[in-house]
């Protein structure tokens, strides 16, 4: 019974956080827009105290654009993630491995009581896998060709079980959305930064500072400083938040995945193989790293526990994940009454 409650809580938490991300994203764009308007407004106050810039065009525009981006990210984020990884949908399996993959995915869908997700293959020799989509009905599971050749059937089942848990917990919805929104924020901040280094700074400095008298000019300056700081920090904060979201969910997906397969040791074995392959998965870009079963960038920071790993890793340390899974396997063997005499 507790597991059902956990699942429900987990889904509720992910729904809440998805909504929060959407709201925060739109608020961020609104601040960037209206903040810019405010600078122009206070900057345009003349000697008589009358402002020449009155209608906040930028703010209204930015908010509208943000809502549009948020909507298309929610709807099309999965497609974009798959496209950026160069994944092809597996509809007519050719090789024995591909047939096996489809079978394993169907098995896990049955175990989780979910509809069969779409299956994609990424041509990359490094073993890795990720899931994306807005929910169980639109879920997609992608694996690299390296994963198919590296793992045996049971281990593949373990990894697919892990991905299926992300689908069932609605992690995929949140993490796909974050991938798309983070991309938009980075783009915005880069773009505006470039404008500033160009002619933008001169305009504000020359006209706003010169004409604005007393209070209005000071307010404009304060808002401008805050505005620039948010622009610089936003991409970093967004990336850190994405990492935290992912890290928390990996342990849980490991555990739920093991519950689906009833075979935690298979996933432990798979993680071990994936770790020892350790070459970066080149087809998976930085923006989608948090979706994968193991960090595709092969960053050393994910290997250790501690403050740095806690802040900068997208995944919990591999050694800890494997140890936890082995612990589950031990518990399972003990419950079954037959401990191996090793």
């Amino acid at each position: 019974m507790t597991e059902a409650l956990n699942l429900f809580e987990q889904q509720a938490r992910n729904r809440r956080q998805t909504a929060a991300w959407l709201v925060l994203f739109i608020l961020f764009f609104a601040w960037i827009g209206f903040g810019g308007d405010a600078v122009l407004y206070f900057g345009s106050v003349d000697e008589a105290g009358a402002a020449h810039y009155t209608v906040p065009f930028i703010g209204l525009g930015a908010t509208l654009v943000a809502a549009l981006i948020a909507w298309t990210s929610y709807k099309g984020g999965a497609k974009r993630v798959l496209w950026s990884a160069g994944a092809r949908e597996l509809t007519a399996p050719g090789t024995h491995e591909e047939k096996q993959l489809l079978n394993v995915v169907e098995e896990m869908a049955i175990a989780a009581g979910l509809p069969m997700p779409k299956v994609y293959v990424v041509e990359d020799p490094d073993p890795n896998a990720f899931a994306t989509g807005t929910g169980p009905e639109t879920a997609c599971i992608a694996v690299t060709s390296g994963l198919l050749t590296t793992l045996n059937r049971e281990e593949l089942q373990g990894v697919i079980g892990h991905e299926m848990s992300h689908v069932r917990n609605l992690d995929v919805r949140l993490m796909t959305l974050i991938a798309a929104l983070a991309g938009a924020i980075v783009l915005l901040s880069d773009g505006l930064g470039r404008i500033f280094r160009g002619g933008g700074g001169r305009m504000i400095g020359g006209r706003g500072g010169g004409r604005g008298k007393g209070g209005a000019g000071a307010i404009a300056l304060v808002i401008l400083v805050l505005w620039v700081i948010t622009l610089i920090l936003a991409p970093i904060i967004v990336r850190l938040m994405a990492m935290a979201v992912s890290r928390n969910r990996e342990y849980l997906a490991d555990a739920t995945g093991a519950e689906l397969t009833r075979n935690p040791l298979a996933l432990a074995g798979a993680l071990q193989k994936i770790e020892s392959a350790a070459a970066p998965t080149t087809s998976i870009k930085r923006g989608t790293a948090h979706l994968c079963v193991a960090d595709p960038l092969g960053r050393r920071v994910n290997l250790k526990e501690g403050f740095l790993a806690n802040v900068f890793g997208t995944h919990p340390p591999m050694a800890v994940r494997i140890a936890r899974l082995k612990g589950m396997g031990f518990q399972q063997a003990k419950a079954a009454g037959g401990l191996p005499s090793a």
Binding site: K99, G113, Q157
Partner: protein
């Protein structure tokens, strides 16, 4: 005073509706999970003749093993009966199939054939699907059974026509038994 009574009545009615709907949802999930098992069992029944026909030629000396699979299949296909009967018949079929797979290991020609390899993957995947569908069914059915027995949901169990769902337990000896493997090399003489 009347106001308080009214509130209490509304709360009770809302609770009854919720509990009733919860039970119905669980009931449907249980039926659904059972259908999943059924789909996979049918698929297995359909796959077996293919496998038997493919390996028959090369495995004429294992007639007993093949016959056991064929007869277990036809017994399982007769169907009818409840969860327990189905479980027993299908369990016997799983056992017979498992034995066939083990025996097939002795025939390297068979194992290297692409056709047989695909069939074997299909069948073992179907076995897995049956196992996972059973796992899901048992989980959902247990939840359903617990819910209708727990207080206070049990008060509306009669209204929702909730009855205990039978679990699919693995009791069959054939499924648990380890198949005997003959490790003597080469084919047995036809007389044996």
């Amino acid at each position: 005073m009347q106001f308080v009574l009214l509130i209490v009545a509304v709360v009770v009615v809302v609770w009854i509706i919720g509990a009733y709907n919860g039970l119905i949802a669980l009931k449907n999930q249980t039926v659904n999970a059972w259908k999943q098992i059924d789909v996979q069992l049918k698929r297995r029944h359909d796959l077996i003749p293919n496998l038997v026909n493919t390996v028959k030629g090369s495995m004429e000396f294992e007639k007993e093993t093949l016959d056991a699979v064929v007869s277990a299949r036809s017994r399982a296909m007769q169907g009818g009966g409840g969860v327990k009967e189905t479980a027993a018949a299908e369990g016997a079929l799983s056992g017979a199939l498992g034995k066939l797979f083990v025996v097939m290991e002795n025939y390297p020609d068979l194992k290297s054939s692409q056709n047989v390899r695909d069939l074997q993957e299909e069948l073992s995947s179907t076995e897995n699907k049956i196992a996972f569908a059973r796992q899901l069914y048992n989980d959902v059915a247990t939840k359903y059974n617990t819910k209708q027995m727990q207080f206070p949901t049990n008060l509306v169990a009669g209204m929702a026509k909730a009855t205990r769902a039978e679990l699919w337990e693995i009791e069959d000896a054939a499924e648990r038994a380890v198949p005997q493997v003959d490790l003597s090399l080469g084919k047995k003489p036809p007389a044996a």
